[in-house]
Subunit: 220 residues, 2 copies
DNA sequence: AACTTAGACGTACAGCGTAAGTCTAACGTA
DNA sequence: TACGTTAGACTTACGCTGTACGTCTAAGTT
């Protein structure tokens, strides 16, 4: 297929293209080797194993996320960072699952977390509060994105999909879901969720925790 | 192994025990059959395929979540529901991933979503706002739980784990992460996140959306 | 007594990650 | 130029996966 020398870089480039196009579960050492014009075991001269490939791909994706801009007010900076993360995760739909289900300690990930903590500390949050705030925002980023990606419906097909599913939702058994589905069919509601809605709920509530440090922060 | 007749019920019971103990990736048709004292292909007389087993297991887990109590004020009801969901997901650590990465339309799931929407509608949220509120809360439930489960450290081992990892976090490169890790090592901070912290951020901010209906809810 | 059927079983296939060993071509040094 | 080393692609093999397909047995029905 190609006379180029096989390198770790070339393997990762090709793997990223492949998973962006075909999904993570479609990535196998044999197929990846085939795309590179090589046999499976040759890959092991350049990478330790498949897990190392996935770890490296995840860190590349994390590296695409815009770090919070220190010039911005904290809320604007966190909003921008969260929106960037959401966009990146939609661009690489396979990536969110390995991010939340594996230990990721690549350089891009460490840089990303450190910059986020730094932004919150600079805004007057205590170290513990910054940690909690960061965790709350990231829970939203990953949770929202996973629910969004799982919804296997493009916006334009939503109405026809609702028509197809409504007979599985008898109104006497599931009155509220039935009603919501009806509104979608009738065009009164597009049924789309908005990442920034939940994000603003969190950012607005965080405001009052600046400069505060509670002993028992979970049970306020 | 057993003279009991093989039934769908018995297969699902055994599968649930198995994945609770060994994890979802350890579930294979051959192993499951072996535990049941039977050969793999016999399972196919009672279930269509492995995916159907997983779908059924997920719906059982969803069925364990307490529905919002109509007698409670909306915020208390949603808090109780979310906490129950979080507890159930920790009890079945394998379950969150298939919940967020597959289409789940089992009866328990439909009942669960309908009851949640009903609670929010009864509290004065519009249909669209109820949908958005439910989505924001569930994003937190699944996102937080996945991050929590991914953190491969029991609370008691946190300090020793921090000591082990701190040399990978040079202070000149990652000053804030280094500082946070130091605080954990010195016992000034336990490093544990709290589900209810983010939950209260969301619930408190939702309050002001009761009875309101915005045309463009994502960009306020 | 003959027929039907439920359900367990055996075999087989195409795929997976990767351990282990082999072969070839390029390179450094004498 | 000749020899020794080595990087790196190769082949083979093992145990695992889900499941399509066909068979065989025992119980139930007519």
């Amino acid at each position: 297929m190609s006379a180029l020398p096989l390198t770790r870089e070339r393997i990762l480039d090709t793997a990223l293209e492949w998973v962006d196009a075909e999904g993570l579960e479609a990535l196998s050492m044999r197929k990846l080797a085939q795309v590179l014009g090589v046999k499976a075991m040759s890959l092991y001269n350049h990478v330790a194993n498949k897990d190392e490939i996935i770890d490296a791909l995840v860190d590349r994706v994390i590296g695409e996320i815009a770090l919070p801009d220190p010039a911005l007010e904290w809320k604007a900076a966190m909003r921008q960072r969260a929106i960037s993360a959401h966009e990146v995760l939609l661009r690489h739909p396979w990536a969110t699952m390995p991010i939340v289900s594996r230990m990721n300690v690549g350089p891009a990930m460490l840089r990303y977390v450190d910059a986020t903590l730094g932004c919150l500390l600079g805004a007057g949050f205590s170290a513990e509060m910054a940690d909690h705030a960061w965790n709350a925002i990231d829970s939203h980023i990953y949770g929202f994105t996973l629910l969004e990606l799982n919804f296997p419906i493009a916006a334009t097909e939503y109405v026809s999909m609702a028509k197809q599913f409504i007979h599985r939702i008898p109104p006497e058994q599931y009155p509220h879901m039935h009603h919501l589905t009806q509104r979608i069919i009738q065009g009164d509601y597009d049924g789309l969720h908005h990442f920034e809605f939940g994000l603003e709920l969190i950012l607005n509530s965080l405001e009052k925790w600046r400069g505060v440090d509670l002993p028992s922060v979970g049970r306020n």
